[in-house]
Symmetry: C2
């Protein structure tokens, strides 16, 4: 992704459909002070801590699994209908650390591999790369995960002597494709995981940003057989600058000495060797936001949901205007039901070289899908992110994008 960052820096005036960053319009620096104070009050009033204990919790070294696990559990109950044991929660330095912890625990030796729906989030591949752990691609397709592909990848890996330990996916409004799993696919995927003895690593950063108000249960909410490790992020729903994520790992596992305990406790041991504990001050910021909204994070994002919905509509309307069906442009796109991203198919290769031309000559940035998938189809696909742009930028950016397309097909 270095090239992408570099090009964004070189062309700061370009309209950018590139970054998957949350909307900034409702931020205020006073929020962080308010959130910290709310958490202090909670420690005193709900937990009964005295001043010295409050200072110790906020400022001293702390519990490796985190200090806001009870509030995260409340939030999961309120927002997701997930009943989690607080001891099964590990608070992490963003969801990225959560991914690393799980992969490290699953990797005993060279035979252990992880599967990932493709195209998929590059962070998973990055964490796996640090562990020299192979990632096997599973076809995503229009339903979010192709179950036949998943089954055959698992079986072929086993036939080669490998141990497929888990499959990673974003259930709702995936990055980069914007695709979600329908309810039937969710149930079928859970059945498949049980049948094939596989964990599912469910990452859910965008689930609240449904454009049509329809929200399906997460895999974890349907997970009666403890097949799902839930990877939580507050980067889009809380504040990215807190760098707080978490995981719910309620599986029973045996450690090296044969003692059975929670997977969360194994992950905590790994975390103690990686980052020791997550900053309690940063955790307090997110906890304060949860407390400010009765642990209803969906409700806390009401205004953002409206913004993202408006952006998606504007983007879809603009695409239809510039590239009308039957207009011969050869340009098409998918219609996500929410999230931050959609994918545009173009009738020419869309690589870093074209991105450079797009930035320099047309003043518009986007992300080549080849960064997310080695599938040949991805070579002619573009990810447009609509979270951080304004509606005016969407219109301007699409005009510029249409000029690029006209030049390429003209």
């Amino acid at each position: 992704m270095n090239f992408l960052n570099e090009i964004a820096q070189r062309f700061p005036d370009a309209v950018s459909f590139a970054p998957g960053r949350p909307f900034e319009g409702f931020w205020d620096t006073s929020l962080v002070h308010d959130y910290l104070r709310r958490f202090e009050r909670y420690l005193k009033e709900e937990k009964g801590y005295d001043d010295a204990e409050v200072r110790r919790v906020l400022f001293q070294y702390g519990r490796t699994k985190g200090i806001v696990h009870e509030l995260i559990v409340r939030h999961l109950e309120v927002d997701e209908g997930i009943s989690a044991d607080p001891e099964s929660v590990v608070v992490t330095v963003g969801c990225q650390e959560a991914m690393f912890l799980v992969l490290r625990a699953l990797r005993a030796d060279d035979r252990d591999v992880v599967l990932a729906v493709s195209p998929g989030y590059v962070g998973l591949a990055g964490a796996a790369r640090l562990l020299d752990m192979p990632v096997l691609d599973v076809v995503g397709g229009p339903r979010g995960v192709d179950l036949d592909s998943l089954t055959s990848v698992v079986r072929e890996a086993r036939a080669r002597g490998l141990r497929p330990r888990a499959c990673y996916l974003v259930t709702d409004f995936s990055n980069p494709s914007g695709v979600s799993l329908d309810l039937e696919t969710r149930h079928a995927l859970l059945d498949l995981a049980e049948r094939e003895d596989l964990l599912l690593l469910e990452d859910n950063p965008y689930g609240y940003f449904s454009a049509d108000g329809v929200r399906l249960p997460t895999l974890k909410a349907l997970d009666a057989r403890r097949r799902v490790v839930y990877l939580g992020s507050f980067a889009k729903t809380g504040l990215p600058g807190a760098r707080i994520g978490y995981l719910v790992a309620d599986q029973s596992v045996a450690d090296a000495d044969g003692r059975v305990g929670l997977l969360a406790d194994q992950l905590s041991k790994i975390k103690s060797m990686l980052t020791v504990n997550t900053s309690p001050i940063a955790q307090a910021v997110i906890a304060g936001k949860l407390l400010a909204h009765g642990c209803d994070l969906y409700g806390a994002n009401e205004r953002e949901i409206v913004v993202y919905r408006g952006h998606l509509r504007r983007l879809l309307a603009g695409l239809s205007r510039h590239f009308p069906p039957g207009g011969g442009s050869g340009v098409s796109w998918n219609v996500p039901r929410g999230g931050f991203f959609l994918v545009v198919n173009v009738p020419f290769p869309a690589d870093d070289k074209l991105l450079e031309i797009s930035a320099r000559d047309h003043g518009v940035l986007w992300t080549p899908m080849c960064h997310f998938s080695s599938d040949p189809a991805a070579a002619r696909q573009i990810r447009l992110s609509f979270s951080l742009v304004t509606e005016e930028q969407i219109d301007l950016g699409l005009e510029r994008f249409a000029a690029l397309v006209a030049r390429r097909i003209g």
Copy 2:
């Protein structure tokens, strides 16, 4: 360390010489608000940022190498006489992440090993374990590092086909031994590193806590040949709850494509796959403390230095009182010139079983040195930490410890 945490929880009323945590007596929750505001002001007044830019820096995803690197460089100049390029600094989630990043970069395959002065900090061994990277022990001894041992460990490893990449050590008031390198040893170690083509990983969490006011230059301050990767921690000098560390890695290295760049930039790529970036809110807290003291962190710790000095004196006086020289107790100890720790030699095995007895029957906790070293001598050694206890607790704890000793040798 799980047993140690567990026993501390089971005996909360015991006097504890166990945790290497900083003194809490000067903390105030208003500090975090003050520090955050100071950093906001700095962004506006010194960097010329407008409100939206300030919000973005604090709340949005940010630079992987961190946002407080310029202030860290100022602090290194003021406090250490180190002139560092801000681009060579990577801000990390505590020093633990810094260790992991360096080891990951140094580990290309199974032949790469790291050396560590023994007895030594368990966090280094933990980070290495996550990477399945062997740690070869180097004798510490009374001068902090035995250079003959270091040379022979390097050469023997090479003879076995291994690649010793670096040697980790705490230069000042080491954990667990309290020992510091004298100036001559520092120079000789740098020469050795050059001669043997080795990096030195210098960890410096306790350097400011000199009891007699004498401060020697860090290896990094003497590092004319870029042999030192400096591992910085603000856990003891800033606030543990920010979980902010950093490293200075100004070495030139070639990447996989043969392009030469800063080691810091390679470490930044690894960090992007591990934690993405360090919480800018947590970084701002530390930056605010630096700003509050003109980046003079030594000065900022004036009161703490006095406290730790007093604790060390009280502990040494108490030990002399309970175990007078020639009194036949068989108990002796080293006399560190500062820091958080000293080591007591006892004439009986001091293991987890004895610790359990000590906690249950005598109400005093300490750390068996066998957790830090496999050397047989460590089996009869105890680490006493004097940072978090009060002077009254030191007296009471030593009385209880003396009762334990009397029972064991009686």
